[in-house]
Structures are given as C-alpha cells and as structure tokens.
C-alpha cells in the first residue's frame, strides 16, 4: 500500500553485540521517521550517529534488531521494495574491471532492465553526468569525481522513484558538486525523492527542503529546512539612542553592537522587539530597521548535537 511516504520507519533500531556475546552497542535507537514522496530530505549527524546504519537498514544490508522500515509502503526487507530505489553508497568500491558503460549495464541488469532498455539508457546517463567520452574506458582510470558521477548514473539507471545517496559529493571538486546538485534538482523536478546522507552541512542546506539530525542513534531534530533555519530572532537598528535608553533596551537584548550612526540590538522574540521599540520611541530614538535573522544549518546542527559545547569543554580540560 502506497501511503504517499517514500520512507517510513517505526521504532527502527540496531544494536550490535561485540564478539562472544559481550558488550552491546546501540547504533540506532528506535528511530521513527517519515519521508514524504517527492521531497529533498537531508539526514545529518556527527560521525557514529547512526546515519549509515539507518540507510543500510532501509536497504536490507543490515538487519534491524527492532522496529520496521517501509519503502513506498512495502516492507524494506522485501527485495521488491528496493526496485524503485537507486542507491549510491559511501566509500563504494566499484569493480575496476568494468568500463563505465559496462558497469551501468551490469547494475541495470540487476535492477531487472532489459538489454534494449539498458542500451538506450546508458548513453543518456553518460551524457547527463558528463561522461559521454568515458563510457568505454575502464573505471580504474576514472578520477574520484568521475567515479561519484558514474555512481550517480548507476543509481539512476532504472529510473528510480527515490534516490538514497550517501555522501554523494565526497571528494568531488566544487564544479562537480554543482553539476551533481543540478542533476539532482532536475530529478526532483520530476517527482523523484532524494534522501541525502551527508556531513557537508552547506550541501544539505543548499539542496534539501527537509532535514533530520541524528545524535547517538536517536532523532534529535526533524522538520522543514525553512522552519529550522528561521526564528533565531531579530536585528533591531536604531539611531539617536541615548545612553539611558540604550541600557534599558540592552536588558531585553541578547547582544548589542555600536554602529557608526546608531546601535544594533540582537533580540530573541517578537514580544521583546515590540517592548524595545516602545522604549526606544519613548526615549526619542529613531527606528531604522527590524530584520528577522535566520540561523545557518551549522548553527542548528551544533545547537542540536551539542558538539560546540563538547568542543569548548574539551578545550577547557586541555
């Protein structure tokens, strides 16, 4: 049954046991996530947060110890559930005896494509990914960036409804990244869901419209990108602010910065902004601008994972 969700997990968990039945290590702890079809979804987390294990459970490479996962409404452990999915793994090791075209042909065949369909599709994808002149070259001669693009072509071979990409721009130069991003944007325009697992926050911020952050195998934060980045507060700029008024408004602000011809206050909420404006106007100051400020994804990530605090504690101990 297709529920309009590309990915749906309920209490999905994975606990590894060390050899000889010793210590238990929880990689993913009861993760419940819903990824609507057609969105650009980014999964973030620090190293060891459980992102790759989560993706591998979706693709049945890792068996969950609890919960369930569905792909387009089908149990993820059914091979057929993976038919509408294209996957580019992190640290892939494509067999080097393949040519670019040969590799696409092999993985296309594994996806059940006919020889005729593969023969039509391969030149299309090589062209799309900028590898048209490299199809007959053995892939051991490919650069890292070319391998990533070929890997993306492989994931696209059977015209999937969803792409699961694990660090797709890893090792790719800025022009290559843009090329990959353009291709992905082209795809999402046709309704393909993209599930992006990356530690490159800027890439995720540029591309994704939904994001989830994992910490220690748990879902720490999830939502639309626009909502997560909004709401850090407001920048209020005023002129002709007397010292007395300035001191009063500073009590409402989280930060203040003197400007050449005025003062900039950083204020957290709209209520406090209104109180500050009232006080400034009563004190004879001129309001120059009120600008809502947004966070960067990095701010959100650091705040959510507590990595900034841990780093500071580490420095203090040092």
């Amino acid at each position: 049954m297709n529920t309009g969700l590309a990915i749906e997990t309920e209490g999905l968990g994975k606990t590894y046991r060390t050899r000889w039945g010793g210590r238990e290590i929880t990689a993913v702890a009861g993760l419940s996530l819903q990824v609507p079809a057609g969105v650009k979804y980014g999964l973030l987390g620090a190293n060891g947060a459980g992102k790759t294990t989560f993706v591998k459970m979706l693709l049945a490479a890792v068996r969950p110890t609890s919960g369930r996962a569905l792909l387009f409404g089908r149990e993820a452990n059914e091979p057929e559930s993976r038919r509408p999915v294209g996957y580019l793994p992190e640290n892939h090791r494509f067999p080097t005896y393949f040519t670019g075209a040969g590799m696409l042909d092999f993985y296309g065949a594994l996806s059940g494509m006919t020889a005729a369909d593969r023969a039509r599709r391969i030149p299309e994808l090589l062209e799309l990914l900028g590898l048209a002149n490299w199809g007959d070259v053995r892939i051991k001669k490919y650069s890292k960036g070319m391998l990533q693009r070929l890997g993306l072509a492989q994931a696209l071979m059977h015209r999937p409804q969803m792409l699961i990409l694990d660090e797709p721009t890893d090792g790719v130069d800025p022009a290559g990244r843009r090329h990959i991003r353009d291709v992905l944007n082209l795809l999402t325009g046709t309704g393909v869901t993209v599930f992006l697992n990356s530690h490159l926050l800027s890439e995720v911020e540029l591309f994704c419209d939904h994001v989830a952050i994992l910490t220690q195998g748990r879902l720490a934060l999830e939502g639309k990108m626009a909502n997560l980045l909004a709401g850090r507060g407001y920048l209020l700029v005023a002129r002709q602010v007397s010292d007395a008024v300035r001191k009063e408004v500073m009590a409402l602000a989280s930060g203040v910065r003197p400007l050449e011809d005025g003062v900039e206050f950083q204020i957290g909420s709209s209520e406090e902004v209104n109180r500050a404006i009232d006080r400034l106007r009563a004190g004879g100051a001129l309001i120059q601008s009120v600008i809502p400020t947004t966070s960067s994804l990095e701010d959100v990530f650091i705040a959510t994972t507590g990595l900034g605090r841990k780093a500071a504690e580490g420095e203090a101990h040092a």
Binding site: R83, Y87, H92, R93, P95, Y97, L110, L128, L186
Partner: protein, 302 residues
C-alpha cells in the same frame, strides 16, 4: 544536457506483477545471467584466471610433445610389427586405455587443485564493503546473489577443464587413432568434485571473508578426505570403538575425492565402477554446506 531523467517509465505495479508467481521470471533470469557473467568477467580480469588457462595450455603442449616423441612413435613402431608378434609383445588398445586413465587421474588432481586456487578469492571479493552494499540494494534476493556467484565460478572452471581434457583427448586420438570417449569422464567427475569443494570455498568465504582461509580449509579437506578413504586399513589400526566409529562417520560425511577418482579410473578402463555412493554422499555434503552458506549470508550485516 540532452536528456532528462524521468520517473519510472514502466509502472512499478507492472514490473512487480511478474514476480512472485513461483519460479524465475525473465527479470530474475536476467539478474542470474548478469551475476554469472559478472563472475566470469571478474575471473578474466584476475591473473589467476589467465594462469589457469595458461597452465592448461602449457599442459596441452607438454602432452603433445611427450606423445610425439615417446608414446606415439613407440606405439606405432610396435604396432607396425607383424600382428601376431605385436600382440604377444604389446596390447596397443590396453596401452592407450591405460594411458588415458593415468592422464585422466593426473588431470583430475591437477584440475581440482588449480580450480580451488583460482576460485578462492572470488567470493570474498564480492563481499568487500562498498561493493556488497550496492549489490544488496538492488531488487535481488541474497540467495540469488550467492547462487549467481557460485554458478559463474563453476562455469569458469568447467570451461577450463573441458578445454584441457578435450584438447588432450583430441591429441591422443589423433596420434594413436584410438578414441576412448570414456576419457571424457574426466570432465564431469572433476567438475563434480570441484562443485562440491566450491561450496566449502563459498561457506568459508561468507563466514570469514578471507580468501586465504577458504583456500586452506578446502585444500585441507581434500587431503583429509583422501586420508579417510583408507579407512579399511586405518580402522584396523585404531584401538577404540569410538575412534573407529568416528573415522567411519567422517568418511561418510565428507566429500570423497579419492573414491570419485577411483570411480573415474574404473569408468575409463571400462571396469565396473562404484560411483553411486561417492557421488550421492559428496553431493549431500555439498548441498548441506551450501545451505549453511546461504543461511549465514542471509543473517549477516554488511
């Protein structure tokens, strides 16, 4: 960009409708064929594969050389004598048949060991991180992946051994003008033993992901099975009942490289052969070990 990717052209339901009706549909056969051909392609890309075929070719040339100087020249000289005299000295038919048998036994041992050496790395290679994950992400069952790999490996060895045995058969036949097709039993018997041993290579490969360990265990198993075959002598030397029972049990449980070779020898000589017991017990061992490999492969995380 000249083309744009589109969403699934064929509806998913239509694609999946063909699956699950029992048996393999055309899509699954395509997957199986792709896996087999991929294994063959990987074998070709490895020096071991070319070593296997190169050594076979060298062996063929060697036999050609030996036959030209000794066997053929000598045999023809003897055969050229008056019939009555030559019959007393030499039975040409028996001589050639025995030659066929010795060569077949040599090829049986040669072919089996070389095939094991050439195959040991093929299973662990596909289980490398970054490669197996991508394979598992395709709409392919794990048993299909393993069976396809196994079949591809077996195909490579079958082609090589068929090439080797057939070429030598043709050389001997042309030189002696005596054609004993029973010599060709060397192909199915050797391939059968290898098929059984390959299950061990696969099992150890799945469990340990180590080519070296697969090789060690499989070669050791061949030697153990040969040792166990001398049970009639050894059992009399063992002092306790349980050790005799253990020896007998191991003999019946493990593949029978020695007995299969003996059966092949008898078949080539045209003698009655006890081939049924070694075949079915070895086959049972292979089925059991391959089943265990499938079970382990199903359970593993990658």
């Amino acid at each position: 960009m000249s083309t744009q990717p589109t969403t699934q052209e064929a509806p998913l339901a239509a694609q999946t409708a063909a699956i699950g009706n029992g048996g393999l549909d055309s899509s699954q056969w395509r997957v199986f064929l792709a896996l087999v051909l991929d294994t063959v392609q990987e074998a070709r890309a490895r020096w071991l594969f070319w070593g296997l075929f190169g050594l076979s070719t060298l062996l063929i040339l060697f036999f050609l050389f030996v036959l030209k100087i000794d066997l053929v020249a000598g045999a023809v000289a003897i055969a050229g004598m008056p019939v009555e005299a030559s019959r007393k000295i030499f039975n040409m038919e028996k001589f050639v048949r025995n030659s066929y048998m010795f060569i077949a036994v040599f090829l049986y041992v040669w072919g089996t060991f070389l095939a094991i050496f050439a195959s040991a790395g093929l299973m662990p290679a596909v289980l490398e991180p970054g490669r197996i994950g991508l394979l598992l992400s395709k709409p392919v069952t794990r048993p299909m992946l393993l069976v396809g790999r196994y079949a591809g490996n077996l195909l490579v060895v079958t082609l090589n051994h068929a090439y080797l045995v057939t070429a030598i058969y043709i050389i001997i036949g042309l030189k002696t003008d005596i054609w004993h097709a029973t010599f060709l039993y060397a192909i199915p018997v050797t391939v059968f033993l290898f098929a059984v041993l390959l299950t061990v290579v696969v099992f150890i490969g799945v469990v340990s992901e180590s080519a070296a360990l697969s090789l060690m265990v499989t070669v050791a198993l061949v030697f153990i099975s040969m040792l166990l075959a001398s049970r009639k002598i050894v059992v009399n030397l063992l002092s306790s009942e349980w050790s005799r029972d253990l020896w007998q049990a191991l003999y019946w449980m493990l593949p029978k490289a020695w007995d299969l070779g003996g059966a092949m020898r008898s078949l080539i000589l045209g003698e009655p052969a006890n081939w049924l017991d070694p075949v079915w017990t070895s086959a049972l061992f292979g089925v059991f070990v391959f089943g265990a490999a499938l079970y382990m492969f199903q359970k593993k995380d990658y």
